[in-house]
Amino acid sequence: MASLIGSYSLNFALACSFLIIFFSIKNFDNQNQLDSKIISLTFLQFFLVAVSFLGLVMSFVYSDFSNETVFNHSHTTKPLFYKISGSWGNHEGSLLLWLLVLTLFIFLFLLKSQRQQKKYRILTLLFQQVIIIGFFIFVIKTSNPFTYIFPAPKEGLGLNPILQDPALAIHPPILYLGYVGSSIIFSSALSATTLNYISKEWARHLKQWVLVSWIFLTLGILLGSIWAYYELGWGGFWFWDPVENVSLMPWLALTTLLHCLVVLEKKLILTSWVIILSIATFTLSMCGTFLVRSGILNSVHTFANDPERGLFILIFLFILIFLSIFIFFFFHKFENKNVITFSWLSKETSILINNWFMMYFLSVILIGTVYPIFLEVLSSQKISVGPPFYNKLIIPFLIPFLFAMAIGPKLRWIKSELQNKIYLFLFLIISFLISIFIVKNSNTDFLVNTILVTAAFYLFVTTARDFFNTKIKNLSQNLAHFGFSLLILSILFNNMFSTEVITNLKVGESYQSKNFKINFERIDTKKNQNFEAMIGKFSIDNLDGNIEILKPELRIYNQPNIVTSEADIKTNLLNDKFMTMNLVQNQDYFNIRYQVKPFMIWIWISVLLISFGGLTSLLKKKYEI
C-alpha cells in the first residue's frame, strides 16, 4: 500500500513540474510580482516527493517484499534503524532522496530569494525544473523504487552488512545535501548570466547557497571517511578511490567558488571564474553520479551496474554541459580587461593564486579518476591509478600552496604592503627549526618532509596567531584556515609516524616487537539479532608499562551471509590504536593487524573546524573584511 501511494505521488510530482513551467513562463513577462501559485506548486511538488519517499521508508519498515527494492535490500531480522537507512542505501532509494533534496532546495530558494528580481527567480526555477524533470524521468524510467514482484517473496535478500553502520546511515543524506545543493548554484549562475544580473548583491545572495552546500559536502565527506576508517578495516582514512575522488572534486570547485565570491562581493571582478566554477561544481557532482552509478569504473563502492542507467545520465549530463557552454558564451559579458588592474601584492592576487592551485589539484584528481576509462577505450589496457600518482603530483605543489595560504590572508584589498614582516619571518624560522627536530626522529625522506612540515607548521602558527590574537574580525576565515592547517599537519604526522604489525596468532600466543608485546588472550562468541560475533581479547604491553586491552570483532551476518571485520580502536588525543582480526581458513590462527596511528582524532576535529568556519560565516550577518 505504501509503495502504491509512493509510486502515484512520484508521478504526480512530475506533473507538478510541467505546471510550474507553464505558470512560470506565463508569469515571466507580465506582472511585477512572482505568482504565488508558483510557490504553492513548488511546495506541492516537494510534498509529493516527500510522501513518495516516506512511502518507500514505510515499505522498508514493514518489510513489504512485494516491492523489489525492499526485497533486494532488506530483511525481516534487520534492526529498525537499518531498515530505515536501508531505504537510501541502494541505487533506487538514493535517487529518490536526491529528488527530495532537489525539490526541497528549490522551494527554500524561492522562499529565501524574495529580495531578488522576479525574472531572476523565475529563470532559476526554470533551470532547476529542467534538472528536476531529468531526474524524475531517470528515476521513473530506469530506477523506479516501486517496482512490484508477484508473488511477494517471504524474505528479503538483506542489506550489505558493511552498510549497517550509524555513520553510513547518515552519510548519504548529508552528502546529497551538499551535492544537490550545488544544483541551485548551477541554476542560479545560469540564470544570472542570461539576465546579466551579476552584481555584488547577487554574490552575497549566492554565497549563502554555496556555504550551505559546502558545509554539507565537507561533513558528508568526513562521515564517509570516518566510516571507511573503522569499518573497512584498512586503517586509513583516504584511499584515492574513484568514489572518494568524485566527492572531493566538487568540494575543491566549491571551495574555490567560495573564495571567488568573496572577491566578487567586494570588487565585482572574477565574474567568469564564478560562473565557470558554479557550472563546474554541479557538472562534477553529476559526473560523479555518472561514474558511480553506471558501473563504468572499477571501484570498491560501485553499486549499480546498468549501462542503460549510465547512458541516461551521460546524455543528461552532456545536455547540461552544452546548455551551459551556450549560455556562457552567448550571454556572458566579459569583463573589460583594461579596467581591471591587479596589484601583485593584494588579496585579489592571492585569491587568484589560490584558484590556480585549486584548479591544478582538481585536474590531477580528475585525470587520475577518468584516465583509466580513456586508456581502456583507446588502447584496451586496464590500469588503476593509486595513491603514488596523487602523492607525487600533489605534494610538491602543496608546499608553495601552504606558504601562499599563510601569507595571502594577511594582505589587503587592492594594494598593500606586507605588514609585520618581522613576525612572518620569525615564524618561518621557528617552523623550520621545529620541523627539522620532528623529521629527524622519523625514518622518512629528510629533505622533502622537512620542507613539507615547515610549510604546514608555518601555516599552522600564522593561522593560530590570528585565531587567538585578532579581535574576531574574521572568525569564519580564521577557523577554516586554522582547521585546514591542523588537517595538513595531522595528515603529515599520521603518515610519518604510523607503525603497523601484521602477524598470525593463535589463542594464547604472543608477538614481541621493539616497542610492545601483543598477547592474544582469548576469544568469545556472542549472538546478536542478525549476526554472530567472535570477539578476540588482546592485551598490549607497551614499553612504558602501559597495558592496553583491544577487542576486535568478526561478525558473521546471517542475511546475506557475509563475514565482516570490526576494528577495535582506542582513541586518545595523541594517537589511535587500531586492531583488526581475520579468520585464516581451516586453521586455529587468526590474522592480526595492529596499528598505532598518531593524531587520527585531529584529522576529524580539523575537518569539523573547517565546516564550523563555514557555519559561522553563514550565520554571520555582518559584512566580512
Binding site: 553506471s294 572499477n298 560501485t302 551521460l314 557552454i325 557475509i562 571485520s565 581475520n582 579468520l583 581458513q585
Partner: protein, 92 residues
C-alpha cells in the same frame, strides 16, 4: 559573441569526451586479468606458514610439468569456496 574558436573547441572536446564515456559504457566492467602465456613466473622467496622455513620458488617450479599456483587471501569469500575444490584436486 566575440570569438567563435573557443566555444567550438570546447564543444568538440566535450563531444570527444562523450564518445569515450559512451564507448566505456559498452565495455564489460568485470575485471579481466591480463593473459601471460609463455612468460615465466617471477622468482620469489617466502615463508612456509606452518613451519616458518624459507622456500624459494625456483625449487618448487623446477620440473618440466604442469603446476597450479593459487593466489588467495583469508578474507576472500570466493577463495574460501574455491579451497575445497583445490584441496580435492591436490589429494586426488
Amino acid at each position: 559573441m566575440k570569438s567563435k574558436t573557443l566555444p567550438i573547441f570546447l564543444i568538440t572536446i566535450f563531444i570527444i569526451i562523450f564518445y569515450i564515456f559512451y564507448k566505456g559504457l559498452q565495455n564489460p566492467n568485470i575485471y579481466t586479468p591480463d593473459i601471460n602465456i609463455k612468460k615465466d613466473i617471477p622468482n620469489f622467496k617466502t615463508k612456509v606458514f606452518d613451519t616458518n622455513n624459507i622456500i624459494n620458488s625456483n625449487e618448487i617450479f623446477k620440473e618440466n610439468k604442469f603446476y597450479l599456483m593459487n593466489v588467495w587471501a583469508s578474507w576472500c569469500v570466493p577463495c574460501q569456496e574455491e579451497h575445497v575444490f583445490l584441496i580435492n584436486l591436490s589429494t586426488s
